[in-house]
C-alpha cells in the first residue's frame, strides 16, 4: 500500500483545480500593460525568390507601429540544428541557414517573410494584406524522390543535391548484413510510408516579447517545452542576447508532443520588435497558421527487408529510408531519423545483423521534427509490419515468430548491433500479459459475431521498445549533439519547513506538480501538500533541458533524488549540531533526524527552522540555509518496452475501420503515479490510432497544403476511439537511475500504429483478401475499400 501522496499512489492532480475553474494561465492569457500585437505575413507559394517587399502602404495603415522583414534580421544569426550528423563517407552534414524571417527566398507555404506590429491584432492583420511582395515563383520540390533525382532545383543553394546527409548505421555492419541477405533462406521485403503528421497540441503557439529599456533586460513568454533550451538558442545562436539579460517563461502550456521543443523564428521576432518599439509585443498563432508553421512529424519513405531462416529466426534487417526534413532544419530534425530511429532497428529482438541507411532530404514543405515518439515509432512500425508480413509468408503465428526472436530475460545487459546496450527488460512477460488480457481464446466467437453484422474482424499485434530518458551527454556528444542532456533540480527548504522544488523539466500536461511532489514527499518524509513544484521560468529554475523523449521522471526525477540526498546530508549535519551528536550517528527516517539507538530526534521542520535561524552555528563547519541543487546526467538511455493488441471491425462495403478492443501491456519500470501513467498511455494510443487511421498531412504537387485545417486534417475524436485496457504490472526497474523509472509518455504513439495496421491486414486476410499485404497509413475508409476493390 503506497503512502498517501507518495510513490505508487494515484494521487489526484493538484494542477487540475486551476484548469477546471478557468484559472490556468497560458501565454495567450497573459496581457502586459501597453502591449502591441504582431501578425506574420506568410508565403502563399511553396518556393519563390523574393524580388522586393514594399511595406510603405502597410506602414500607413491605422494602428500600425512597425513593419519588419528579413532585411531587419540580416545582422542576427540563424536558428541552428541541435545535432550534426556525419554521412557514411565521413562528411559532415550540410546545414543551410534558417533565418528569423525568410530572406532572399521563401521555401514553403507558410514561410514567414514579414511582420506587422499594430495596436490590435486585426489592425496588424489588415496591414499584412497591404504589404506588396514581388515573389518570383520557382518550381516546388515536394516529393522526396524527385528532390533527390533533380538537383538542378534546390531548396537551399548551399545544399546542392537537396540531401543533408546520407547516414549509415552502423556502416561497419553493412558488409556482414549484405552477406547475411545473400545466403538467407527467406527474405521479406516491404516498402512503406510513415505518414507526415501535424502535432496539433490544442493550445496554438504564442509568444510575448517584453524588452525593458531601463535595464536592457528581455523577457519572453512563450509556449515552450524547454525554456532553457529556447533561451540558449536565442542567446548563443540567434540574437546574441546574453543569457543573463534574457528570461524565458513558459507558463501553463497546452500540450506539446514535440512541437514546442523547438525555437521558432516568431520568438526572436517578437523580442526584436519589442526592443524596437519599447513595448511588449504579443503574437498568438491561429490554428490555420499552426498547420503552416508548427514543425510536422514523421514523413519517412522506407524499404525494409528481413532475412530469416524457414523457421522464422531473424538473421538480418536492412532498411533504406528517405526522411523528409522540410524546408529548414528544425532543432532536432537531424537526430530524429538517425539516432532516435536507426539505433532502435533491432527492436526487442536478437537479430544478429542490422544496417540502417537514411538520407535526409530538403523539400519545400513545413520543417519536420520530433513528434511524440520521434524516430522510434518509425522504427517500430517498419519492423513490426515486416515481421507480420514475414510470419504470413512463412506460415508462422505472429505471436510465435516474435517470441522465438525476443532477447531473453537472462541476456541483459544486451548489446544490440545498432549501438545500444539494453540494461534490462522482459519482453516475454509483457507479451504474455497482453495475450492474457486480450482474450485470445474468445477471438473466434467475437469474429463470428462481427460476421453476423457483415463486418470483418481482425487482430493485430505489435511489440515495441524505445530508448528514452534522453540522455547521457557523453553518448549524445559522441553522436553529434551540440547540447548536454542532463537535467537539474533545486530543493529549497524554507524556514517554516515547506519546500519549493525548482525543476528543469517542464509540465505541459504530464502532471509534474503532483508527481514530483509525490517523489519529494516520499524521499523526505514530508506531507506532499507542503511541497510546491516550480517550473518554466529560467529566472527561477536551474538550467534543465526540459520535457520531451519521456525523460522528465528518469532524468529530472533522478536529479531531484540527488538533490534530496544532499538535503538529507545537510540536515544530518544540522541535526548533529543540534543534538550534540556525531554526524555519523545521525539517521534520517520518515521525516525525522535521530541519534542512532536513542530517542533523541529533530523533526524535518525543526531542522529547517534551525537552518535559517542559526543562532549558535559553528559557522566554520556549518553553513546556514537548507537548499541544494543537483544536476543528473544518466549513464544510459532507459528502455521501456511492451506489447499491444488491437482488434478491428472492417466494413467491407465502405472500407470503414472501427477499433473495438485495444490492449496495452507495458513495462515502464517503477511507476510513481499509476493514474497518470495510464493517462499518458491512453493519449499516446489515441495519437497512434490517429496516425494509423485518420491523420496525414497532404501537399499537392505545387506544395500547397491540402490539410490546412480540421476540415481536412482528421483528428481523433471521442467517437473514433474505444476504451483502452492498459496494464503496467510487468516491471523490470531501470538499473541505472535511482528511481528505477523508464518513462511512459511516448509508448502509446510508438506501439499503436503497427498494431492497428496489422489488425486491418489480418481482417482482410481472414476474409480472403490475401493479395493485400500492405496499405499505407492512414488507413482511411477510401484506402481500405480501394485495396479491396480497386
Amino acid at each position: 500500500m503506497p503512502k498517501d501522496g507518495g510513490i505508487g499512489a494515484s494521487t489526484l492532480r493538484r494542477e487540475d483545480i486551476r484548469f477546471l475553474t478557468g484559472k490556468g494561465r497560458y501565454t495567450a492569457d497573459i496581457n502586459l500593460r501597453g502591449q502591441a500585437f504582431a501578425c506574420f505575413l506568410r508565403s502563399e507559394v511553396a518556393h519563390g525568390r523574393i524580388r522586393s517587399i514594399d511595406t510603405s502602404a502597410a506602414e500607413e495603415m491605422p494602428g500600425v507601429l512597425a513593419v519588419m522583414t528579413g532585411e531587419d534580421f540580416t545582422e542576427v544569426g540563424g536558428n541552428p540544428t541541435g545535432w550534426l550528423v556525419q554521412s557514411r563517407d565521413g562528411a559532415t552534414m550540410k546545414e543551410p541557414k534558417r533565418p528569423v524571417l525568410a530572406h532572399g527566398k521563401v521555401r514553403h507555404v507558410g514561410d514567414a517573410y514579414a511582420l506587422v506590429v499594430a495596436e490590435t491584432y486585426e489592425q496588424a492583420k489588415d496591414a499584412c494584406e497591404a504589404i506588396e511582395a514581388d515573389i518570383e515563383e520557382l518550381p516546388a520540390i515536394v516529393d522526396m524522390a524527385a528532390a533527390v533525382a533533380d538537383t538542378t532545383n534546390r531548396v537551399h543553394d548551399e545544399c546542392d543535391d537537396n540531401v543533408v546527409f546520407d547516414w549509415g548505421w552502423i556502416e561497419e555492419n553493412r558488409a556482414a548484413v549484405d552477406a547475411a541477405f545473400e545466403t538467407a533462406p527467406h527474405v521479406t521485403t516491404l516498402e512503406l510510408v510513415n505518414n507526415r503528421l501535424s502535432p496539433n497540441a490544442m493550445e496554438p503557439r504564442a509568444s510575448i516579447g517584453d524588452f525593458d529599456s531601463g535595464t536592457g533586460d528581455y523577457k519572453l513568454y512563450t509556449t515552450s517545452q524547454n525554456p532553457h533550451l529556447t533561451r540558449l538558442l536565442i542567446s548563443a545562436f540567434v540574437m546574441g542576447i546574453p543569457e543573463n539579460k534574457l528570461t524565458v517563461i513558459a507558463p501553463d502550456v497546452g500540450g506539446g508532443f514535440g512541437s514546442k521543443i523547438y525555437h521558432y523564428g516568431e520568438e526572436a521576432a517578437v523580442l526584436a520588435a519589442s526592443k524596437r518599439l519599447d513595448r511588449p509585443v504579443k503574437w498568438v498563432c491561429d490554428r490555420s497558421e499552426a498547420f503552416l508553421s508548427d514543425a510536422h512529424g514523421r514523413d519517412h519513405v522506407t524499404k525494409i527487408q528481413l532475412a530469416t531462416d524457414m523457421e522464422g529466426n531473424f538473421l538480418a534487417v536492412r532498411t533504406e529510408t528517405l526522411a523528409n526534413m522540410g524546408a529548414y532544419l528544425s532543432n532536432f530534425a537531424t537526430c530524429t531519423p538517425t539516432f532516435l530511429h536507426g539505433t532502435l532497428m533491432a527492436g526487442p529482438y536478437k537479430t544478429p545483423h542490422v544496417y540502417v541507411n537514411v538520407k535526409a532530404v530538403m523539400t519545400n514543405t513545413v520543417p519536420v521534427d520530433a513528434y511524440r515518439g520521434a524516430g522510434r515509432p518509425e522504427a517500430t512500425y517498419s519492423l513490426e509490419r515486416v515481421i507480420d508480413k514475414a510470419a504470413d509468408e512463412l506460415g508462422i503465428d505472429p505471436w510465435e515468430i516474435r517470441r522465438k526472436n525476443f532477447i531473453d530475460p537472462d541476456q541483459f545487459p544486451y548489446t544490440t548491433p545498432v549501438g545500444l546496450v539494453y540494461d534490462t527488460g522482459n519482453y516475454h512477460a509483457t507479451m504474455d500479459k497482453l495475450r492474457e488480457l486480450s482474450d485470445v481464446a474468445g477471438f473466434e466467437a467475437r469474429a463470428t459475431e462481427s460476421a453476423a453484422k457483415g463486418k470483418l474482424r481482425g487482430f493485430g499485434l505489435s511489440t515495441w521498445i524505445e530508448a528514452c530518458g534522453i540522455a547521457p551527454s557523453n553518448l549524445v556528444g559522441v553522436l553529434g549533439c551540440r547540447v548536454g542532456l542532463y537535467d537539474a533540480a533545486t530543493i529549497r527548504v524554507n524556514a517554516t519547513g515547506n519546500i519549493s522544488v525548482l525543476v528543469g523539466a517542464h509540465s505541459h500536461g504530464q502532471g509534474h506538480e503532483t508527481v514530483f511532489a509525490q517523489l519529494i514527499a516520499e524521499k523526505l518524509g514530508v506531507d506532499a501538500k507542503s511541497v510546491e513544484i516550480v517550473h518554466g521560468d529560467t529566472s527561477k529554475i536551474p538550467f534543465g533541458m526540459g520535457t520531451y523523449g519521456s525523460r522528465s521522471l528518469a532524468v529530472c526525477g533522478s536529479a531531484m533524488m540527488k538533490a534530496a540526498d544532499k538535503i538529507i546530508d545537510k540536515g544530518k549535519k544540522i541535526a548533529a549540531h543540534m543534538l550534540e551528536a556525531a554526524e555519523g550517528d545521525i539517521e534520517f527516517n520518515d521525516g525525522s533526524f535521530s541519534v542512532a539507538g536513542t530517542d533523541r530526534q529533530k523533526s524535518f521542520a525543526e531542522i529547517a527552522f534551525s537552518a535559517y535561524v542559526p543562532h549558535n552555528y559553528p559557522l566554520e563547519t556549518l553553513e546556514p540555509g537548507l537548499e541544494e541543487t543537483a544536476f543528473y546526467d544518466p549513464a544510459n538511455f532507459t528502455y521501456p518496452a511492451g506489447a499491444y493488441g488491437c482488434e478491428v471491425e472492417v466494413d467491407p462495403e465502405t472500407g470503414g475501420v472501427d477499433i473495438v478492443r485495444f490492449t496495452c501491456a507495458d513495462d515502464f519500470g517503477n511507476v510513481i503515479n499509476p493514474m497518470i501513467v495510464a493517462g499518458q498511455v491512453h493519449g499516446g494510443v489515441a495519437q497512434g490510432i490517429g496516425q494509423a487511421l485518420l491523420e496525414g498531412v497532404v501537399y499537392n504537387e505545387d506544395g500547397q497544403l491540402l490539410t490546412g485545417s480540421y476540415m481536412d486534417y482528421a483528428m481523433p475524436r471521442a467517437d473514433d476511439v474505444p476504451n483502452f485496457t492498459v496494464d503496467h504490472s510487468c516491471v523490470t526497474p531501470c538499473t541505472h537511475n535511482p528511481l528505477g523509472a523508464k518513462g511512459c509518455g511516448e509508448a502509446g504513439a510508438i506501439g499503436t500504429p503497427p498494431a492497428v495496421v496489422n489488425a486491418v491486414i489480418d481482417a482482410l486476410h481472414r476474409a480472403g483478401h490475401r493479395h493485400i499485404t500492405h496499405i499505407d497509413m492512414p488507413l482511411t475508409p477510401s484506402r481500405v475499400w480501394t485495396a479491396m476493390h480497386g
Partner: protein, 160 residues
C-alpha cells in the same frame, strides 16, 4: 458599441466592434480567459460556453448578436462556495484532463449533455463530445468522468 450580457449571473459590459466574437468579448473584453480558442474553423470546441443554457462555440458567435443574453463560462461552473461542481470534480477524480487547454470546453459540453440527458450511455457521451477535440487524454478518462458525473444528482451540476 458597448455590449452588455449576463455572464455567470452578473451583468457585464465591454466595448465591441461588429466583428468582435463572443470568445474575444469574454477573453479580452471581460478578462475571462478560461474560455480558450484552439482553432479557427469551429471544430475544436475549446471555446464552448453556454448561451441561454445551450452549448455554443463562442469563437463562432458575434458578441453583438447575443447582447442581452445569459452566458455561462467555465469561470461560472464551480459551486457558490468555490468548491468544484460535480462535473468538475468528476474530471479531477477520473483524470479527465492533462494539459487543461481543451478542458473548459469539455466541461461545458459535458454539462450541457447532462442537463439535456442526465443518464447517457457511453456511446451517447462519445457522440455528444465529438465536436470537442482533446489531444492528451485519448478521451478514455473524459468519458469516464462524464459517466461518473451522470451517476450523481443532476441538481448538483453547475448552477446555470
Amino acid at each position: 458599441m458597448k455590449v452588455t450580457m449576463t455572464v455567470n449571473g452578473k451583468a457585464m459590459s465591454a466595448e465591441t466592434e461588429g466583428r468582435t466574437l463572443l470568445s474575444s468579448f469574454l477573453r479580452e473584453g471581460l478578462g475571462l480567459t478560461g474560455t480558450h480558442v484552439g482553432c479557427d474553423t469551429t471544430q475544436c470546441g475549446a471555446c464552448t460556453v453556454h448561451v441561454d443554457g445551450q452549448p455554443v462555440k463562442s469563437c463562432t458567435v458575434l458578441a453583438q448578436d447575443v447582447a442581452g443574453r445569459s452566458v455561462t463560462t467555465i469561470e461560472g461552473m464551480a459551486n457558490k462556495d468555490g468548491s468544484l461542481s460535480v462535473i468538475q470534480q468528476a474530471f479531477q477524480d477520473h483524470h479527465g484532463l492533462q494539459c487543461g487547454f481543451c478542458t473548459p470546453g469539455m466541461v461545458m459540453i459535458s454539462a450541457a449533455l447532462l442537463s439535456e440527458k442526465p443518464n447517457p450511455t457511453e456511446e451517447e457521451v462519445r457522440h455528444y463530445l465529438k465536436g470537442n477535440i482533446c489531444r492528451c487524454t485519448g478521451y478514455h478518462n473524459i468519458v469516464k468522468a462524464v459517466m461518473a458525473a451522470s451517476g450523481a444528482d443532476s441538481q448538483k451540476l453547475a448552477a446555470e
